[in-house]
Subunit: 480 residues, 2 copies
């Protein structure tokens, strides 16, 4: 069959093809090895790199830290990996800290302070796990190298990216270092704050007894002062407790983000103990004051703040190729709900899947990536911002919901497990109507009516012990 | 366990609850019967209504047409239902025209005109079907009534919606009648045109022989003049041929949208026959000129134009409830690629699923609806607009792709079946790089290179007969 096409078009096109071919056009990569450059070796960069190596993609990671350096660094952060992230780690072949030994199984909640806080417990469907990133990140970096990943050890700056882009089909940026925040503009619609909403004091401490027999996070709120998350965390000297102390600016606890441990360790610890006794007594009660200190030494503490920010998911570089923002650089969440690393991992594996599935890395490519990653990523961001603003004075709609969570173990379990699925949590918190409807949908029609809310006490045993986990039930669920 | 909440909050909240309850708050519907109002009884409204009736939702449909009136109406449109839509009809229990008797199996393509057009054939994975909507819509309206759906026969106007909204938890609007276009603002980013891109002449004709033995659509393009789709369509007097004649404004065929059949039927038919012989000779050759006429009479023709438009997916009414745009009111596509009804059905069932799944119909509800429906709906819209603009002069990148489709049966099959999946088609057409990569991905690395493109002739038999469908192979695929 002879095909008639008007000659000028055909010729113009062929010239165009040849022109493109000499410049390695975007479509050359079909059937050839894809070449991806990743700037930043945190959870986002490593999970993406490991995923791509599983699919024979040529990956180069740029980082200024060699694996051996991590041991001597200041605490990087305190990060919970929920079961959805652990599942990804199992799939990536990097589950070096199996949850049966290193995991924890749910959340205790203590909301409010004296005379009696709202207390309850909820289970996950499967355990979460926290490992000190000074241990976690270099171990995964070694996995990446062993599996044929390339690493270039240098600090890459925003101004270097165009030169690097020539070597790759796609650049992925997942570090705040190097002024990359300037490359990816802020999305104003999703960025209501221009400053941190909490003054953070984050450390790993020894001398806090783990809860027995069931390891769990404890999540505290002291309305008007702040929140605290106590996370069983594996660090250099074993299982210790990370305290993520989130302090309301101008409140009684803000000082914890200002006083320096290094200036006078004993004074700092005494200050902290006093504040814990006042605001988070359940934690203070489990502290052996003689042993209480930073777990490994003076580098185990981090103070500062995080401005919740969403940036544009990608930019087009001057060479026509895209640079994609991943992890914290794309969406920075306050750590109050422990979502950051889970979002980074979620987004990294979706980006990896789309890099493997698609052949052209253009705007349409990013439509697929964003469509798949954004409901969870933005849901976590919006939910975290909601909690930051509504916990500050314990707004009435939030009070009512947390009261129901405390009264009904079903709700506490769902609420807790949804830390794995922040988009489902946002389905609950996105409006006052949703907060009511969510309770009703789990408890049935009658219980949800305010006039009958106390009927629900069949689920909420009277007194403190009953708010403890039902271990038999939880263990059964785990075995299933 | 006693929960201490500060009294002002609790009291304030209870008052608020009572206040809401008397106004039927959004969350009242949990566990109760949901009440949905649908304005418009086309494919979108009927598929949504039927889906909701399958799930015991209380649905009221507003339409100004009783089932018995359809028989006497002018042709409504000419609509292909692709296999994905037929599958939905089977699930809805309204597959009254099974495709083994009423369906067709693929597309013939004739692109270009004399001396020799680019010709080829591609198969669907499963048949499509076209039934005159004057038969289809009243039949489904009867199904809806039989299944407990309520219908109110009256013309609802945009200004009526707030009063209606009080009776329902959610209003869905899927009609252009009643000035609803004013309620839902146009999305400028997706609406590049302010007028129709083709002058349409659409009719159902008798006297055109169906292709034997394999029924199929024929899709024609006459660069500079327009496009035509010939669709085997079941109408009142059996299987006839719908001709969707899309005419470039100012071109040789525009007159077909202007001359009135009613003024002089013979003159109109002669004009049409002359234009078909010149621009679409393959169709003209199958016409028995003595029998050639509108299939059922002078109402079987429709002339006009469609401005491709995307409107905001929902608006908040003054009572705080949402009105959702569905079907053509949300996204109006030109019929050149036969996507409209398929998008309407796709979006309708997704909206139905979310109405059943969720309990609060707010902005978050719409985020889920839009996230699920928009890739296909907007993909079809963008692909259709791309084809309208690039077919006009048969732009070189489109020429090259269509040439490859004509040369390689694999590509023709994929291209044809993707009429079911316009988002996949848009994955191919969204950029020049994608058009190349798409061909390469289906044909393998070597064939895609321009220098070797003719290697592919093993797939493209030399001459006209070989461009006909491989019936054995296609039948085998159908049986599987």
């Amino acid at each position: 069959m002879k095909v008639i096409l008007s000659e000028p078009f055909t010729n113009g096109w062929v010239v165009n093809i040849i022109g493109l071919a000499s410049d390695e056009p975007l479509w050359r990569r079909v059937g050839l090895r894809k070449r991806i450059g990743i700037i930043g070796a945190g959870t986002a960069g490593l999970h993406l790199g490991l995923y791509l190596r599983q699919h024979d993609v040529d990956v180069t990671l740029f980082t200024d830290r060699r694996p051996a350096e991590y041991r001597g660094l200041r605490l990087l952060n305190t990060v919970a990996h929920h079961a959805v992230t652990v599942d990804r780690e199992i799939a990536l072949g990097v589950d070096h800290w199996p949850t049966d030994a290193f995991g924890y199984f749910g959340h205790y909640y203590y909301v409010g302070a004296k005379p009696e806080p709202l207390r309850c417990y909820g289970d996950y469907h499967a355990p979460s796990r926290a490992v000190d990133y000074r241990i976690y990140l270099p171990r995964l970096a070694e996995d990446f190298l062993e599996r044929g990943g390339k690493v270039e050890y240098r600090l890459v700056k925003s101004s270097d990216i165009l030169a690097l882009s020539q070597r790759f089909d796609l650049m992925v940026v997942c570090t705040g270092k190097g002024a990359f925040g300037q490359l990816f503009p802020v999305e104003p619609a999703y960025t209501p704050f221009d400053r941190p909403q909490r003054a953070l004091c984050v450390g790993i401490f020894k001398g806090i007894a783990q809860r027995e027999p069931r390891r769990a996070v404890t999540w505290y709120a002291s309305p008007g002062a702040g929140e605290m998350i106590e996370i069983p965390t594996t660090t250099f000297n074993g299982m210790q407790s990370a305290l993520v102390i989130e302090n309301i600016i101008g409140g009684d606890l803000e000082i914890l983000a200002q006083v320096r441990y290094d200036d006078d360790p004993r004074a700092f610890l005494d200050l902290l103990l006093g504040k814990l006794r006042k605001h988070y007594p359940d934690c203070a009660e489990r502290i052996d004051e003689r042993e209480f200190d930073l777990a490994n030494g003076p580098l185990d503490i981090l103070q500062g703040g995080v401005t919740p920010t969403v940036r544009k998911s990608h930019v087009k570089l001057a060479d026509g190729k895209l640079a994609v923002a991943l992890g914290d650089l794309h969406v920075t969440v306050d750590p109050v709900l422990g979502q950051g690393a889970n979002l980074a991992s979620h987004a990294a594996v979706i980006l990896g899947e789309e890099i493997v599935r698609q052949d052209v890395y253009d705007e349409r490519f990013m439509e697929h990536v964003d469509r798949r990653r954004n409901d969870r990523v933005l849901g976590a961001h919006l939910w975290t911002n909601f909690m930051l603003t509504h916990l500050e004075a314990l707004e009435p709609e939030l009070s009512l919901l947390l009261k129901k969570v405390a009264q009904h173990r079903e709700l506490a379990d769902v609420f807790t497990d949804n830390f794995n699925y922040p988009e489902r949590q946002w389905d609950c918190f996105a409006s006052v109507e949703r907060m009511h409807a969510w309770c009703e949908s789990w408890l049935g029609e009658t219980v949800g009516r305010e006039s009958r809310a106390d009927d629900g006490d069949r689920h909420a045993p009277p007194g403190h012990p009953a708010a403890e986990p039902d271990l038999g039930r939880a263990a059964g669920a785990r075995a299933g």
